[in-house]
Symmetry: C2
Subunit: 737 residues, 2 copies
C-alpha cells in the first residue's frame, strides 16, 4: 500500500515531499544568501535532498525530498517514541525493514525531520520563528488527481465509507480525518431527527413535547456516541493517547529555570498559580464580551422592534434596513476586536504546550460565538415574548431621536395597539438555521474561490501591463518585477505554476470548521423545538458541507501538514455543554409556548407562572442529567470494535511475554520439586514426628522448631488425617478413647 | 527494610505467612482426608511449606510458609505483569535478585501463589468455592506487637504522618491504606469548617449565608483535593492504573463461549446489552426502596408529630416512645430485606469482574443508605415545615385508632392550636450528627468487642461444663468435642490459642467503613447550615474513628489480605453526588429559614414563595457547578508531588531509550553524510547545471530529471544565490540586464 500511494501522490508531484517557501524580500541580499546556504546545508545534513527554483519576485521555492534510508530511520524513531509513550503496543521492527505506513505518516515524519530540534534528531528549522524568519512556509503539495477523483466519487454517494475517511486521514493526517469523521457521524445521526422532525412538523407543529424529548435524547446519544467513536477511531488510526505526547510551544516564556530533582535536567517553568491568576482575566473578558456584544445586539433589536412594530412614520420601508445594516456592521467589528483581545489574553496566559494554548483559546472564542450566535434568539424567546409589553413603552426614546425629522402626528400613540409578533421567534430560528447557513456556505467556500481567481487574473493582468510599460521604457513601478515569465524549464512550467499558486494560499485550520459545526449543533439543541424542520435543513446543509469542506481544503488552502490527534479536543466539551443548555432552553420554550388555551394562539404566551417555569426547567435539567448518566454508563459498557481489537493485541503481547517468563521458570522447576517432597513415605508417622520433635528441641528459634515438626506434605497429611479421625463425628471417638 | 519487617512480623508469628482454615465437619471423613491430602500436595507443588494443627472440633489449621526462592519468583512474575500493564515504569530486575518490597507485597504475592489459577502460576485454591469447599478461610496473622505499639503512638498525636499511612499500607495493603488515608485527609480538612462553623455559630447562629457558601466551597475543594490525593497516593504506592488489571469473578456465568478473532482464545462472554436490560431492575428497586422505607419513615414521623404535638390524652409520656421504637425496629428490618434484594439483583446482573460487581452493589447500597440517613431530615425540612398546616389535620386518622381506648374529651380539637415546632429541624440534625454518631461508634466498635469476649468466655465455660459432664459419664451432649484442652505442644499453646481466635473472626470489608464516612460527609454537605457545629462534632468523632477503626481491624477482624487499588472507587462518585445535592439542599434551607422579619422568628417560615425558592435553587446549583468546574480545572493544573516524581522517572526511562536509539544511528551516520555533500565545490554553477540538464535529458522520468538538476546542496545554494541576486531589490537588476 505504501508504495502504491507513494507512486501515485509523489510521482505526480515529481516526488517532492515538501516545499519550503523562502522569502528574501525583507532582508539584505548578502544576509539572505548566507541564510539560504545555511538552510540548504542543514537540510542536507538531516538527509534531505533539495532543489531550488524561483518563487515570486521576492521568494524562492526550495523543494525537499527525503532520502529513503534516513526517512525509514526517522519513521523508526518516531515509532519507538510512540511505543515508549504507550501509543503503540508492540516495539517496532528495526529501522532497516521499516516503511512509512501511508502518505500521512510519511509527510508527518518528514515534517518532523525538518522541524524537530536537533537534539531530538531533526533539522531544527522553525518557519517564521527565530533565526528562520525567512522561511515563511513549509507545505506539502496537493495531490490534485486524487483530489479530483474523490470529489467526483463523493458527489455521487450519500455517505462516505470508513475507507474514504481512512483515505482522508492518509492524505491530510488524523486531525483533518477526525473532523471529517465527526462531520460524517453528525450527518448520519441527523437522519433520525430530520425524519422525526419532519413528521412532527406535519402532525404536531412546533413546540411539541414529544419532539423536544426525542431531540434532547438524541443530543445526549450523539455526544456520547461521538466520545465512543473517538476512542474507536483513535484505536483504528493508532493515535490513542497521543495527547500525552505534547509539543512545547515555541512562544512559551519560562519565568525561571529550575533543575528537576528526579531527571537532573534544567527546564524553564512558569508557575501554574501565576497562570491561573492570569486566567482570571477570562471573567472580565467574558463580561466585556457579553456586554459589548449584548448591547449592540439588544439595541439593534430594540430599534428593529420599534421600526417594524411601533413606527408608522415616513420612510418606514427604508428604515427597516437600519438595524440589519447596523448589526452586520457592528457585530463582526466587535467580534474581531474581542477575538484579538482573546488572543492577547491567551498569549499572556503563557501556556506551555500547543494543546493547552489551543484549548484555552477555544474557550474564549466559544464565549464570543455563543453570544453572537444565540443571544438574538434568546432575547426574542426570553425577553421580547414575556416582557414585551413592559419594555415596549420605553422604546419611546427612539421616537425622541426621530422627532426632529418627523411631524408629530406620525409618531402618535401606537404603543397601546402594540401586539407581540407571534411569528417572530420562529422566523428568527428559520433565519439562523437556513438563511445564515446558506450565507455562511457562500462566504466560506464560494466567495474565497472567486476572490482567489479574480486576484490571480488581476495579478496576471497587472504583470502584463507592467511588462508592457517596462518594454515601453516606463519607470513608474520599480517594485514590480521585470521577470514576468519565469525562467523555468519548459517541462516544469505547469508544475511550478501550480506550486506558486499553492504557496500563496492560506494555511488550513481545522478548528474553524469544527466550530462551525458545534455552533450548528447548538441551534439544534437549543431552539429546534420552535421549528422542527431545523434538522432537515441541517441534514441538507451538511451533505453539501462535507463535500464543500473537502473542496475548500483542496482548492483554497495549502495542503495541511498531517497532525495526529485522538479527539476533536475542546469542541467535544462544547457539544456537551450546548446539549445541557439545550435541555434548559427547550424545556422553557415548551412551557412558554406549547400550551394552546391559556397561552393564546400562535405562540403568544399570556400567562407564564414563574414558579411553574422554574419547576419545569428544574425537572427537565435533572432528567437530562440522569438520562445522560444512564446513556454514558451504557455506552461505556459497549466496547468499540477497534478498541476491542487493540485490547486483544495488547493482551496477546502480554500473554506471550508472561508465558515466556513462566517457561523460563518451568525449566528450573524439577530440581526444587524434589526437595519439597523429599520424604521417605515408608516411615511411620509417629516415628517421624518424634524425630522432628527431637530435632527441634536442639534449635533455639521457636519458629524453626515449629516448622520442623512435620517434614514434607505427606507428613502434614498424616497428622491431619489423625486429627480428623480423632473427631467424634460418627461416634468413633469413643472407641479410640 | 524488607528483612527488617519480615523479621519483626513473621518472626513473631513463627514465620507463618498464611493460615488455611480447613473445615471437615460437614463432609464424610474419607472425603475430608482425601481433600486434605490434595490440598497439602497442591501447596507443596506450588512451593509452599505446610504444618497442620488442630483448629476447633471440626477444623484444622494448615499453616503455610512460602519458600524464599519460589516467593521471589512469584514476586518477579507479579512485577512483570505490572510492568506489562503499565503499572510499573521499569522492567523489573531478574528474579534471582528480587525481594518483596514490604510485608504487604509479600502477603499479596503469597496469596496469589495460593489462589491464582494454575495457568497463571498459582496453586488454584479457591476458599469456599468449587472443589475447595472445605477451605473455609485463608488469612494472614495479625502482628499484635506492632499493632499495640501503633495504637499507643497514635493515641498521643493528632494527625497521622505520611509514614504512619505507609505503614498501614505495608501491613494491610493498599485498599485499607486508601481508607485510612481518606479518613486522615477528611479529618484534616475538617479543621477549617470546624473552626469556621464554631465562629459562625457564635456570631451568626444557624442558617447563615456566609457559612453555607463557605461550606459548599469546602465540599467542592475537599472532593477535588481527594481526587488529586488519590493520584498522588497511587503514584507513591505504585498502584496507578491497577484497576486496568481486573480479576474475573469466580461466580460469573458466561452465556456462551466465543472464540476471540484477535487472540484466538475461547472465552465466556455475557452480552453487555443483556446485562443492561437486567440492570433496569435497579429502577423498580430504587422505587421499592424509596417507597418501602419512605412509608415507614413518614408514618413514624407522622405518629410522632401527632403524639408530641397534637395528642394530649393519657399515657402521652409513654406513647412518645412508640415512633422511636417502631423506627428502630422497622427501618433496620426493611433495610436488611432491601440489602438482600440488592445483593440478589446484583448477582443476577452477572458482572464479569469483581470491581464491576462491587461498584454496582455500592450503587444499590447507597440508595438504601441515602433514604435511611437523609429522608427523615428532608421530610422535616421540606414537608413538615412548609406544609405542616395542610398536613396536620389529616393526622386525625390516628385519633380514630386511639378513640376506642380514650374518652372523647381527651382527644379534643387542638388542631387549631397547632404550631410548628421551630426547633424540630435543628434537633433532628443534632440527633443525626452527634447522638447517632456516638451510637454508631458504640455499635461498631465497643459492642462487637464485648460480644466477642463474652462469646469466648461462654464457649470456655461451656467446654468446661461439658468436659465435667463427660467425666461424670454424662452422654447428653454427643456433639461437643471431648478434647477440651487441645493436644498442643506446650510452647505453641499461646500461639495456637491466638490463631484459633483469629480464625473465628469475621473478614474485614473496607467498603463498610468508607460508606460510613461518605454518609457522614453527606450530613455536612446537606444539612450543616442548620447547625454550624456539625463539623465540630464530626471533627471530634473522626479523631476517635481513625483510632477505633484501626483497633477494630486489629482486634475484631481477621487480618485483611492485602488488596491493591488506586482509588476509593464508587464512593468517590458518591461524595461528588452528595456535595452536588448539598448545593441544592443548603440553598433551599437558607432561603426558607434564614430570613428574620418576613419568615417569623425561630425558623418558622411564614411566606415561602415557590418561584423565589426555585430561583434560589437554580442559581445555587449552577453557581456550584461553575465553581466546581473552576476548582477542577485549577486542581488539574497542580501536579501532585508523587505524580511529578513518577512522570520524571518515566521521562528518564524514555529518554535513555531514545538516546540509545539516536546513538545507534549516529554510529552509522558518517558514511551517508559524504554521499549527500559529495559534490566538487570548485566547478562553476552554470557548468554544473548544464551537466545536470544534459543528464536529465536522457531520463524518461520527469521526477528524476527534476531532482537531477542540482546535485548537492552547494549547487542548490548557487542557483538560489543567482536568483536572489537577479532580483531588482537594490536596483541592480537593471545592470544585470
Amino acid at each position: 500500500m505504501a508504495t502504491a500511494t507513494e507512486a501515485n501522490a509523489l510521482g505526480y508531484n515529481l516526488k517532492v515531499d515538501y516545499v519550503i517557501h523562502y522569502s528574501f524580500g525583507d532582508s539584505d541580499q548578502a544576509q539572505a544568501i548566507a541564510q539560504l546556504e545555511k538552510l540548504l546545508q542543514t537540510l542536507a545534513n538531516a538527509g534531505l535532498q533539495s532543489e531550488v527554483r524561483q518563487g515570486d519576485e521576492t521568494s524562492l521555492l526550495v523543494f525537499v525530498c527525503a532520502s529513503k534510508k534516513r526517512l525509514n530511520r526517522a519513521v523508526y524513531r518516531s515509532r519507538v517514541r510512540d511505543w515508549l509513550y504507550g501509543i503503540r503496543n508492540a516495539e517496532p521492527e528495526p529501522a532497516s525493514s521499516i516503511e512509512p505506513q501511508n502518505e500521512g505518516e510519511r509527510l508527518r515524519v518528514i515534517n518532523q525531520m525538518i522541524t524537530l530540534p536537533t537534539e531530538e534528531g531533526g533539522a531544527g528549522i522553525t518557519p517564521k520563528h527565530g533565526e528562520w524568519k525567512n522561511v515563511t512556509g513549509l507545505l506539502p503539495l496537493h495531490d490534485e488527481e486524487t483530489n479530483k477523483k474523490w470529489l467526483h466519487e463523493w458527489s455521487q454517494k450519500t455517505f462516505l465509507s470508513e475507507e474514504d475517511l481512512d483515505q482522508i486521514r492518509d492524505k491530510f493526517g488524523e486531525s483533518v480525518g477526525f473532523y471529517f469523521s465527526f462531520l460524517q457521524s453528525y450527518f448520519r445521526f441527523l437522519i433520525f431527527p430530520a425524519v422525526f422532525g419532519f413528521s412532527c412538523w406535519l402532525l404536531l407543529g412546533g413546540y411539541s413535547i414529544v419532539y423536544t424529548l426525542v431531540n434532547s435524547l438524541w443530543c445526549i446519544v450523539f455526544v456520547e456516541y461521538w466520545k465512543r467513536k473517538e476512542v474507536d477511531l483513535s484505536c483504528r488510526w493508532q493515535t490513542k493517547g497521543i495527547s500525552a505526547v505534547q509539543t512545547k510551544r515555541r512562544e512559551f516564556k519560562p519565568e525561571k529555570e529550575i533543575r528537576d530533582e528526579g531527571t537532573g535536567e534544567t527546564r524553564g517553568v512558569f508557575p501554574a498559580t501565576k497562570r491561573m491568576q492570569r486566567q482570571l482575566l477570562q471573567i472580565p473578558f467574558a463580561l466585556v464580551a457579553a456586554i459589548g456584544l449584548g448591547v449592540i445586539i439588544a439595541t439593534c433589536f430594540a430599534i428593529e422592534i420599534f421600526i417594524s412594530e411601533l413606527y408608522n412614520g415616513p420612510l418606514k420601508s427604508y428604515l427597516t434596513f437600519i438595524p440589519t445594516i447596523l448589526l452586520s456592521a457592528l457585530v463582526p467589528t466587535m467580534s474581531a476586536v474581542l477575538m484579538s483581545i482573546a488572543a492577547k489574553i491567551n498569549d499572556y496566559e503563557n501556556h506551555e504546550t500547543n494543546d493547552a494554548y489551543d484549548s484555552a483559546l477555544t474557550q474564549k472564542v466559544f464565549v464570543i460565538n455563543f453570544i453572537t450566535s444565540y443571544l438574538p434568539v434568546l432575547l426574542t424567546a426570553f425577553v421580547y415574548v414575556p416582557f414585551a409589553s413592559h419594555i415596549v413603552p420605553y422604546l419611546d426614546i427612539f421616537r425622541l431621536t426621530i422627532r426632529p425629522f418627523v411631524s408629530k402626528e406620525h409618531t402618535a400613540t401606537d404603543c397601546s395597539s402594540f401586539k407581540i409578533d407571534p411569528h417572530r421567534l420562529r422566523n428568527q430560528v428559520i433565519y439562523f438555521t437556513v438563511t445564515a447557513q446558506i450565507v455562511g456556505f457562500a462566504m466560506e467556500t464560494i466567495v474565497p474561490y472567486i476572490k482567489q481567481h479574480a486576484l490571480r487574473e488581476y495579478k496576471e493582468y497587472n504583470k502584463k501591463k507592467n511588462g508592457k510599460a517596462e518594454n515601453n521604457g516606463g519607470k513608474d513601478s520599480p517594485e514590480r518585477s521585470p521577470i514576468m515569465t519565469y525562467d523555468d524549464p519548459a517541462e516544469e512550467k505547469e508544475f511550478l505554476k501550480r506550486v506558486r499558486n499553492e504557496v500563496e494560499l492560506p494555511e488550513y485550520v481545522v478548528t474553524d470548521d469544527l466550530r462551525e459545526m458545534c455552533i450548528q449543533f447548538g441551534y439544534l439543541a437549543l431552539f429546534s423545538p420552535t421549528w422542527p424542520l431545523v434538522p432537515v435543513s441541517f441534514f441538507i446543509n451538511n451533505w453539501i458541507e462535507l463535500r464543500s469542506d473537502f473542496f475548500k481544503i483542496c482548492k483554497e488552502f495549502q495542503r495541511p501538514t498531517p497532525l495526529r490527534c485522538d479527539t476533536i479536543g475542546p469542541w467535544l466539551d462544547t457539544l456537551g455543554f450546548l446539549s445541557w443548555v439545550g435541555s434548559i432552553s427547550s424545556a422553557a420554550l415548551i412551557y412558554m409556548f406549547s400550551g394552546d388555551s391559556q397561552t393564546g394562539p400562535n405562540g403568544q404566551p399570556t400567562d407564564i407562572k414563574g414558579w411553574a417555569l422554574l419547576l419545569v426547567i428544574f425537572f427537565a435539567e435533572h432528567l437530562y442529567l440522569i438520562i445522560r448518566y444512564a446513556v454514558q454508563t451504557a455506552m461505556n459498557r459497549l466496547e468499540p470494535p477497534n478498541a476491542r481489537k487493540e485490547r486483544g493485541e495488547r493482551y496477546l503481547m502480554r500473554k506471550r511475554y508472561l508465558e515466556s517468563t513462566l517457561q523460563a521458570e518451568a525449566n528450573e522447576e524439577p530440581e526444587e520439586k524434589e526437595l519439597v517432597s523429599d520424604v521417605p513415605p515408608e516411615l511411620t508417622r509417629s516415628a517421624l514426628e518424634e524425630d522432628a520433635r527431637r530435632n527441634s528441641g536442639h534449635s533455639a528459634d521457636p519458629a524453626e522448631r515449629f516448622w520442623m515438626r512435620q517434614r514434607g506434605w505427606t507428613e502434614s497429611a498424616k497428622v491431619g488425617t489423625g486429627i480428623i479421625l480423632a473427631q467424634p463425628t460418627k461416634g468413633n471417638a469413643k472407641k479410640q478413647q
